[in-house]
Structure formats: C-alpha cells, structure tokens
C-alpha cells in the first residue's frame, strides 16, 4: 500500500519537469465516473479521441468511486500518471509524497484558470502547485417538487431534524445522507449556523467538542435516513422508486432526473453547502510525465471544460468555457452553480494541525472510524 508513498515531500526525482519532451505514447488516469469520456456513452461527449490524435498519447482511465479509493490506488501502484483528486484527497496525496509538484510554466493555458482556484489551499502548498484545477461543484439539497409544492426547502434541517414536510407527513424514512466520512463536515456546517456557541469556523477543522457535537447531530439524523447514498444511481432510484424526497446530492443527479421528467429540483440552503473542487494531480513516479503534462494542458481547453461541465453538471475551472459551448449552453454555468462559489466550503482533508491555524483538530482517519460507527447505529 505504501511502497509507492515513501518518497520525500517534494516532487519526484529531481523536482518537476522543466521542459516537455516527446510523448511516451500513453497516459493513465484515475478519474471519477463520467470525468473522461471518449464517446462510448454518447458520441457527442468525447474529449479523448482528439487528444489522442493530437499527441499520440493513448489514454487509459480507471474510474474510482470515492476519494479514498483514489488515494489508495495512487499510493498502491506506480501505474498511474494522473488523478482527478477532490479536495478531501489532495492534501493527503501531497502530505504522503504521492504526487509531485507541477511546473505551471509548462502549462500554456494556466492563465485561463479561474483566479479563485489558482492558489486554492487544496493544491497550493508552501508556495508550490501540486496540480491543475479541473472542475468544481457544490453539494446541493435535492428535493421532490411534488412533496414540497410552493414551499421549497430553505434549510438543511429537512435532512437533519425530524420535521413535518409540506405534504403533511414526517420526513423520517424519506431523506438520505451521503455515505462518506467527509459528510461529517455537512453536519458541522449546519451547527456552525445553528449553534454558534460551539465556535466552529471551518467545518473541516473541528476540535474534540465540535467533532462530538457534529457526531451527535449525525446520530440524530441516523434515525431519519432511509439509506446513506453511495453511488449516484442508487440515489436516483431511491428518489424515483422508494419515495425518498430530500437529500444532499450533486447537480449531476438533479440534471439527469429533471431531464427525464421527474419532479426534482435543488437548492443551496441558507447554511451554505459543502462542495468539491477537483484537481488533476500527477503521480510522483508517473511513468509518462510528458503525456501527463500534455493532458493537463488539454484538460483546460475551453471545449473540454464546457463539454465536461454539461455532462457532469459541474462548473469549469476555465470560465471562458461558459460562453459559446454548444453542449453547455450559455446558462449552463449558472445552472450548475457558478455563482455559489462564495457559499461553498470546499472539501479538504481534515488534519490534526487544523491547517496550521493552531489548536488541535480531529484527523481524518478518526472521521472515517467514527462515521462507520454512526452509520452502524453507534
């Protein structure tokens, strides 16, 4: 598992590349499902074929279902060049020496990256860049419009507290929560708003007392949830065939369900929301470094960025993709929540040193064991 992660803390052998040489003919990427499409699913969504033709780098993709799986794959093997890491994985990859520093001078389109993301704390550490922003999105509150009628929910309380919904029945057994340790941050965000006396300032930097309060809220929620959703499809089925009416979700599910005519909509509640911002990062021992750099440059191409945003319901890291993309349309970025940036608390890996803010915080591996315990009803 950790054989590959024994490197030192800076980049791979001899620091980052200083110039890009000839392509090695292949590049291997770990990605979220739907992140790197080659037209297999829908011929109009293909941003691999052109890249392969231009560079001669044949792309292989391994899809991973969770951030944690991505970390495990990266740490456990030297087969992969790149990973589309979310913020709850990226700092772990950097701290473990699993990924290398990226020389942004070699990436021509670097200047097109949304300035809000250029030096984001989940990939910019000690003055060094460890990746290229790819896409971001917010976790939204997805709800059934037939049940909520004219009064859409405005607070996460519909998934955390027992309430009577506008259709007159309780929400117990009709809501869901995300099945991942990082969801504890959603509980902390809710408390940040509703229990200011706890003094939570960052939902990912929780001291013991704050962490315990968040867990207590999740235990209360345990009584209400139908299921903790793990894969997007199971969740969609739960909304269509199981009578689930509200849950934290991604714009992705909302778009697919709404496009299919289901009575589904979404909202960012008053408390704000957690979100994910994904960064393409490069393995410390990447076997195909030149192709990897070529892909990172390609990943910022406005056409790629726009198509992907349309496909996945996310927001481009290169905002010039928001205009003139046929698949995304000119309102696509707004639909996918481009304006929510300031309400979002992006995923970060919880760390014992509270991201250098001082104090002692609960580290991530405890988030994992505790969330397993809560979901198990303990």
């Amino acid at each position: 598992m950790m054989a590959a992660a024994c490197g030192d803390d800076d980049a791979g052998p001899g620091g980052p590349l200083t110039e890009i040489g000839d392509g090695e003919g292949a590049v291997s990427i770990i990605a979220w499902a739907g992140y790197i499409e080659r037209g297999d699913t829908d011929p109009s969504f293909d941003w691999v074929t052109q890249f392969e033709a231009d560079t001669g780098c044949m792309v292989t993709v391994k899809t991973a279902a969770t951030s944690d799986e991505m970390v495990a794959l990266m740490q456990g093997s030297n087969d992969f060049d790149l990973v589309t890491a979310s913020g709850d994985a990226s700092l772990r990859l950097i701290a473990g020496g699993t990924v290398q520093e990226v020389n942004t001078d070699l990436i021509e389109s670097w200047g097109d990256v949304d300035p809000r993301l250029q030096e984001a704390p989940w990939h910019f550490v000690d003055g060094a860049h460890y990746g290229v922003p790819y896409q971001w999105g917010s976790n939204v509150l997805m709800y059934n419009t037939e049940v909520f009628g004219d009064t859409p929910p405005t607070s996460w309380n519909v998934v955390f507290e027992e309430v009577t919904l506008p259709d007159g029945a309780s929400n117990a057994g009709r809501v869901e929560a995300y099945d991942g340790p990082i969801y504890i941050a959603d509980a902390a965000l809710y408390l940040m708003h509703h229990q200011p006396e706890l003094g939570i300032t960052d939902p990912y930097a929780l001291n013991r007392a704050q962490f315990k309060a968040a867990l207590d809220l999740m235990r209360q929620q345990r009584e209400l949830v139908f299921r903790y959703w793990h894969d997007a499809f199971v969740q969609m089925d739960d909304f269509t065939t199981e009578g689930v009416v509200a849950s934290s979700s991604w714009p992705f599910q909302v778009n697919i369900l709404a496009a299919g005519g289901a009575p589904i909509s979404s909202v960012i509640p008053v408390e704000g929301a957690t979100g994910w911002a994904d960064t393409t990062m490069m393995h410390a021992n990447a076997p195909h470094p030149n192709c990897a750099y070529m892909w990172m440059e390609w990943s910022l191409n406005p056409q790629v960025q726009g198509d992907l945003a349309a496909w996945f319901g996310s927001v481009p890291a290169n905002l010039s993709a928001c205009t003139g993309n046929a698949l995304l349309g000119d309102t696509g970025c707004a639909t996918n929540g481009e304006g929510n940036f300031d309400q979002i608390h992006f995923w970060k890996t919880p760390q014992a040193d509270c991201f250098g803010l001082g104090g002692e915080c609960v580290p991530y591996h405890e988030w994992v064991t505790q969330s397993v315990a809560v979901i198990g009803g303990r």
Binding site: M2, A33, D40, S77, F233, I256
Partner: protein, 267 residues
C-alpha cells in the same frame, strides 16, 4: 413399494417447492432481461415506460465491453488451467497413501474458498505491495487461481475416492508404468470431475469482483467494467444487455458440459 396415491401427494409438495426455488433463482434474471429493453437510460421505474432494442446496438459497438470481455475470458481460462493442474496434483498426492500432515494439507487447500474473498484480496494485495510487484494481468490470475485450485481439487479428489484402486493395480500388473496408468486409466476416470471442476472454476473466475478489485491495477475485467458502468450515467441498461448476452453465450457450454459429466456418471 407403497401404493400410488401417497407418493403422488408427497411428490406434489416437493415438486411445487422445487419449481418455486427455480422460479426464485430465475426471476431476477427475467427482470434483468426486461430492463435490457427499457427506454429509460438512468433511473429505472416499474413497469418500464417503453421497450427498445437500442441498447443492444450500444453494447455491441462499445470497445470497452469487448476489451473487458476478452480480458475476463483470458483470466478465467488461465486461472482455470493453472487450477486444474495444481488441483489434480494435490488430489493425486493425498488420495491414496495417508501421510503425516495430510489433514493439514486438505484444510489448507480449502482455505482460499472458505475465507471470504475480501480476505484473499486484501492479503494478496498487501503481499504484492510489500514485494513491490506491479499490478498486471498476472496478479489478477494469481488471485483467481488461488481460489480456483480449491474447487478443482475438491472435484477431483471426490472422484478419485470413488475410483477403485484395483483398476490401477490391474494396470500395473499389465506392465504399465505410473505415467501410462495415469494417462490411460486414471485420467479417463477423473475426466468428468475435471470438466465439472473446470466449469465451476471458470464461472467463479469469470464473475469474480471482490478479489479482482484488490489485485487489479489498471485492468478492467468484465465485472469491474460492470461495477463502474453501474455508477455511470446513461449506460445502465447496457449492463443488463451484457449480463443477458453472457447468459446466452454460456448456456450452450454449460449444457454440453453437463451432458458430458452426467453421461459418464451412470445412474
């Protein structure tokens, strides 16, 4: 023999439960078949709103499915072959003469199928990581062959136990050496067991997901492809199509193998 009526009555209950169990086993496969034709592409509802043949075309033209199928076939074939050779050797060793540690050997051979797949997977993975071995086609095969050996061994050893030693003695008396005896006497005796064990091992390898998850690097076997496609938009009915095609493709070999093994058993 008793009179007729009670027998028919007794039959009736048994027959009913037998057909009920078969229905229970096959009902979900019917559902899979039904949803291979659905017009919905993401979330499913019952009954399906419409039927279409589109997904068969989509699956047929999908390169990832073909690659995954080919890899799965290669892995299953290689693992089964290794398992049959090793399993037969082990069975031949423990079959006739008791020796010190024979019980331990038979216990150890059964271990890989008696322990949950996740244990096999995670332990092989940690060994692979400790040894700094890159993940490849062969790491998958090693994982699969490990539990397939047990299947092959069990089938062969059971068959050997039912083979009369006097056959081998007769062969030796007629001047055949050990190798000839094996080839001309023992092998025909255990052939049905090899076919049955091979089939079962192949089936288990072909549909294995948990061990593969741990021992595969960048390779996608068919079940792994299924797993990633099930969480992917607009591709879902394709998984049902692929599952259905596999049933259709394997029906004939299963039938043939069953006939071959049954015919030689005698009733």
């Amino acid at each position: 023999m008793s009179t007729r009526r009670p027998r028919i009555r007794r039959h009736f209950g048994l027959r009913l439960s037998t057909w009920a169990v078969l229905a229970f086993l096959h009902f979900p496969i019917l559902i899979v078949a039904l949803y291979a034709f659905t017009t919905e592409d993401a979330a499913f509802s019952f009954p399906p709103p419409g039927l279409t043949l589109e997904w068969f075309g989509v699956a047929w033209s999908n390169g990832a499915v073909r690659d995954a199928l080919y890899l799965s076939l290669r892995v299953a074939t290689t693992a089964t072959a290794i398992a049959l050779v090793l399993g037969t050797m082990a069975a031949a060793a423990v079959w006739r003469r008791p020796f010190f540690g024979r019980e331990a050997v038979s216990l150890f051979i059964v271990l890989p199928i008696a322990l949950p797949g996740i244990i096999t997977g995670i332990s092989l993975r940690s060994a692979i990581a400790l040894g700094n071995i890159p993940f490849s086609f062969w790491t998958i095969v090693i994982g699969h062959a490990t539990f397939c050996v047990a299947i092959a061994y069990n089938n062969v050893v059971a068959r050997m136990r039912r083979t009369s030693p006097s056959l081998l003695e007769a062969s030796a008396d007629l001047g055949a050496n050990g190798w000839q005896t094996f080839r001309h006497v023992l092998l025909p005796q255990i052939r049905p067991a090899l076919i049955a064990g091979g089939m079962l091992a192949f089936a288990l390898s072909f549909d294995e997901i948990i061990v593969t998850t741990f021992t595969a690097g960048n390779q996608q076997t068919l079940p792994i492809w299924m797993f990633s496609s099930l969480v992917r938009p607009r591709q879902r009915p394709m998984t049902n199509v692929v599952a259905l095609l596999i049933v259709a493709l394997t029906f004939i070999p299963i039938l043939l193998a069953t006939r071959m093994t049954r015919n030689t058993e005698g009733s």
